[in-house]
Symmetry: D2
Subunit: 145 residues, 4 copies
């Protein structure tokens, strides 16, 4: 049941899509994107996700808040190479008052290359864990549905 | 006189413009883009320059050629920060049978941030310096005028 | 019982320690090491692990084999900053005929900053999954005990 | 005459040597170190230069000063690849009250790979150009002789 509803969510495409062009700098001597560059693509994904939902992470930081990364997971299925045009699909898979999880799927056309998640905690400028400001939490909640 | 004609060239905008959004990963603890990331923006500039002129650097490599970097210069006038939307302006400032020089100007709106050049030599898969294939040289020559 | 023996293993320090000095380039505008740079420190960890066990990953590639990354996990407990001298502790936590898992713990003095794993598959130059060459598998098996 | 004395200086090795092991992450799909990673090696060079001369750049920043990069030049003569052990040689080639130039030569054994310079201005936390604090300037002056 749970599985079904999750699948459903994915099909409904609550994902936000962002194009990323692979740079020469992203490749390594195997001729493919170095694995540790995909988490940077995840970062682009969540930045653009937030922008499209109506606020920017930059504004969030200007208000004195940060979403620090506390966890990272990635599974690598296929490789990308220089000049490939990828699509980073991003959604919020879990939302709590003090943190959230982003879920990413990176495709080249119909081929899934990498899937991953990042977990974040909301902290203030004093590096103290705090509650996500209510009006942002509301925006994020709406995103999740 | 020389100066005038060069200035003229710039005003005529033989530059190709490419937008680059600054990633969090690009910044350093001074709160600005780390200086060694601008040469990566230069790379984006020349990749898109070539694409817009009618061939891609990827095709160029698939044909067995490479434009290796033999020189790099950059002058830093102003800094950029996270989420800034920059414009990388790229043109060919010098073209020879075996190599060329790209010239870049990176702006945030009207503010010049960084100006630089990269020098390249054409080599083949055996790492031997060779003449740029004629039909590509012709495309590049047309670009320069 | 399982837990005990694992704990035991860790205390016995089957980990190989490698020092890593944080570069300015590694930091981001929060003033700390950007989260996606730790997987690069993991790479240093497993490179030096192999070197200390008697072969280098470079030789491994020269022989026509690669250990591609198929999975990455990291948990972030504390942050590092510019010029910090870190210790990357690396061990093999799982070894199979066609792949293995490395386990990493990154410390600044006694403080655990990041813990993670990378999963790898052995492929040949034709990108086909293959059995790890026996004499290397034997070296790795010895490491694990 | 000038040339001679400069050559002399170089032979006398006022350069500080720092080893750098090439990471897989540093390479690109040409199988060599991506050109824009050498400026990061320059950064390691000047960090260790200062440490060996008796103060660290971290302390310098803690005191409220920064040496921002205003210019970068690099010439590429030979390439390095994964696992190569390089030597970054660093010296101060020019010293003024408000700024300085570092000069770098990167070798693999006897082979010169890359030579370059970085120009820096001293600024304070308000991003205002200032005079390098006297006791540091004195240390740097001694280095130069």
């Amino acid at each position: 049941m749970k599985k079904q509803s999750r699948r459903h969510a994915e099909e409904n495409d609550d994902f936000v899509d962002v194009p990323v062009r692979v740079r020469y700098a992203d490749t390594d001597m195997m001729g493919v994107v170095y694995h540790a560059n995909y988490p940077v693509f995840f970062e682009i994904g969540r930045s653009e996700y937030m922008r499209l939902k109506g606020f920017t992470y930059r504004e969030f930081e200007d208000m004195g808040y940060h979403l620090v990364v506390t966890g990272l997971e990635a599974k690598y299925y296929n490789s990308a190479t220089y000049d490939d045009l990828l699509t980073v699909k991003t959604r919020i898979s879990e939302l709590q008052s003090r943190g959230l999880t982003f879920h990413y799927m990176i495709y080249r056309e119909k081929t899934l290359l990498v899937e991953g998640t990042t977990k974040h905690l909301c902290i203030n400028n004093n590096k103290k864990t705090v509650i996500i400001p209510p009006h942002l939490l509301n925006i994020l909640k709406r995103c999740q549905n």
